[in-house]
Symmetry: C2
Subunit: 429 residues, 2 copies
């Protein structure tokens, strides 16, 4: 990790420090476009052939039903862990249930807002080397609570055609309605456009590799008419540590981010050069015990430690950086909260490792990266609804409001807008 | 308008009827990219030169402050109308204020969610032939209530360099912090990247022509790290009318949509062929009195009337079409509400013209078009916030939850994630 002293940095250097490694989609975009076009026009056949090519298995049928939870072969301790995580995620997302809103803005003019679940959603769960059942819970639970009628989980099959039992168990817990045995850009295309066996969805969620991310971006601005959860980039953490923090814990947290991959972004912000040094030494020590040591080492090589003068400076920098995950490693973490503006999910205090939120505290782990925490929220129950507004005027309401509308329509030169009011008012006079 | 009988249509024909005219950005994209690149690299100079080229005026300074409302030269009746609209929009959006959420998902594990205003927003207000002060209110009011510290309104100057007093008055009402005298792709680029005189924003809102829309799409997937409100397309209305509707009013509503431009989309859904005929005749009659007759006539030529058998069929089709504006022209409008799934904003009953909501009922008029009402909400107070989640575990909370996290981390092969828990648990034992 490179160490910087904040007060010595000029504006340009701070900006450079906040800049994330840009993912270059130019190289893969032609391939992704070709895949999308093929699936759009040839449907199942293209989807099967790409899956055979990339995942080494030809799925037939492409879409399978979800087994009952009790039929999934999985150890009891794993089932208990997933059940616990499910319960916590369910509790926190259930509390986000939107109520209906009714406001009589003036006598006879009633405005309302009601939530409607998105009718069909696609939940992408990466496969390949890693098995990520936690992603199934993070996307499946809010989709279940919102009551989206069609909830398709797309995940690439293993070479023998199987889906990992951990994934199946979490799909069963969250009442996934369809499992699509495909991944990559081809799965995204199938969800966006629909095929003979895959229902078209309205919104696509979930993390993925560059091909998946690129495909999500392309279909979200295409004739598919589909939304995506948010822009995606490599995972990241910023840790603000003060003198009450524990270097061993901070090192473990930095490493749990770094092990995601060489492109993971890790930043340590501290008020003491000694603390930074101690933490870096401890990080090096812990690194030796990790199976993913190589990836973590590469990630750390691209990472920074920033020495700040005080808490205020730490927060200024953190808000500029806008981390996906923000850890406040301090016994006085609560005092930082009002000053936290730009962050995806925040971990308060020395007993709250990021991995608690990654898996099971109850918050969602699908979060904005690459600085997008300044303008995007993480996935929440809201992400599975859209809000519809309603208004209803009584004759008296129109009598009161009508003249306002007539004046404004005239100011904008929209005569038919004015007449839609005037003709009604004439009937009422 | 072309008339269709729903029960005679097959699935392909219904799909075709739901298809909107696709805007072809391929033709203009190279130009828009060039403009964005110029403003990104040359800043103010490029912005000024494009404004001179496209709007016939070189703004210097580019950014001006907002006058006090009382200093804007505007008739009292106009001021009163804008004040009334402001009050209603304020009341409805104020009621959307998010509360903080606190859930103890299990003993010692507290999850929270708090709203944070987006720090800098850009509000695009189209200029050119039309003056659209209502857009200033629709974007400025929620930005004001959320308390976004930087609220830049971008709007092209008139040829003499002036900004219309209606725009200035609404900017004053909503406490806009900067007025950028520029429009088009160049204004979007300046908001996205910032220039010497334009602060960089985090999110860009508002309607615009093809160049503005294309620029918003491009910057939202670029290194600018900026969000946009939603994909934009031509405005549209679908009217469901039953035997209690008034053909004169329905015709006026269809025309108030059609006058927006030749590409506006207008659909009438009714249960009686006689009602459709009567409404079309009335539409033709009212058309004669409109200054924007030619645009409206072209829009109507591309529009459809659909004869359905009953209310259920009307709703099935309307939900498939997913209109930006949905008018329920019926004395029994309330009975339709539970069946309305996909719509931006809904106008209930015979005394609620769309123009009431376009201007002053209180709901927002920035709404999803082109079928995006199936997965996007219109602009609301939420659009100006992002939600940050927090979690805090006590030592006992970690003792309880830790083993779950360890099992899940192990299942996903993420050893450092496990250790971040295990090392802490060791300290506690």
């Amino acid at each position: 990790m490179k160490v910087f002293t904040y007060k010595n940095l000029n504006a340009e250097e701070i900006k450079a420090l906040c800049k994330r490694t840009a993912v270059d989609f130019d190289r893969i975009e032609p391939t992704v476009r070709e895949i999308i076009q093929a699936v759009k026009t040839q449907g199942d056949v293209a989807l099967q052939s790409y899956t055979q090519k990339f995942d080494g298995f030809l799925p037939d049928p492409l879409v399978i039903p979800v087994p009952a939870a009790e039929d999934v072969p999985l150890s009891e301790d794993k089932k208990a862990a997933f059940d616990r995580a499910f319960a916590n995620i369910y509790a926190f997302h259930m509390a986000q249930k939107p109520g209906d809103l009714v406001v009589e803005t003036m006598p006879g003019v009633v405005c309302r807002r009601e939530a409607r679940a998105v009718e069909a959603v696609g939940l992408y769960v990466p496969g390949g080397t890693a098995v990520l059942p936690s992603t199934v819970l993070m996307l499946g639970v809010p989709a279940m609570i919102a009551g989206c009628p069609t909830r398709i989980m797309a995940t690439p099959p293993q070479q023998d055609g199987a889906i990992a039992p951990e994934i199946l168990y979490c799909a069963a817990l969250t009442g996934i309605t369809h499992i699509l045995k495909a991944g990559g850009a081809q799965a995204v295309a199938a969800l966006a456009y629909g095929t003979e066996s895959v229902p078209k969805v309205h919104k696509i969620f979930g993390p993925g590799n560059q091909y998946v991310t690129c495909a999500k971006m392309l279909v979200s601005q295409s004739d598919a008419v589909v939304a995506i959860d948010m822009p995606a980039g490599p995972s990241e953490v910023l840790v603000i540590a003060d003198e009450t923090a524990n270097p061993e814990f901070v090192a473990a947290d930095l490493l749990s981010q770094a092990e995601h991959g060489a492109d993971s972004q890790v930043v340590l912000v501290a008020q003491s050069a000694g603390f930074i040094e101690e933490t870096l030494t401890e990080t090096e020590r812990q690194l030796q015990s990790l199976p993913r040591m190589e990836a973590a080492r590469k990630a750390l090589a691209n990472s920074s430690a920033v020495l700040v003068e005080d808490r205020a400076q730490a927060l200024v920098f953190s808000n500029l950086w806008a981390p996906e995950h923000l850890i406040i490693a301090s016994e006085n973490a609560a005092e930082y909260v009002p000053g936290i503006i730009n962050a995806g999910s925040v971990f308060l205090g020395n007993w709250t490792p990021e991995s608690a939120g990654d898996y099971a505290s109850g918050t969602n782990h699908t979060l904005p990266t690459s600085g997008y925490a300044a303008m995007y929220s993480g996935v929440s129950l809201d992400s599975f609804y859209k809000m519809v507004t309603f208004q209803e005027l009584t004759p008296d309401g129109l009598r009161e409001l009508g003249p306002t509308v007539e004046v404004m329509a005239q100011a904008e030169g929209l005569e038919a807008h004015r007449q839609a009011v005037s003709r009604r008012l004439r009937h009422l006079s």
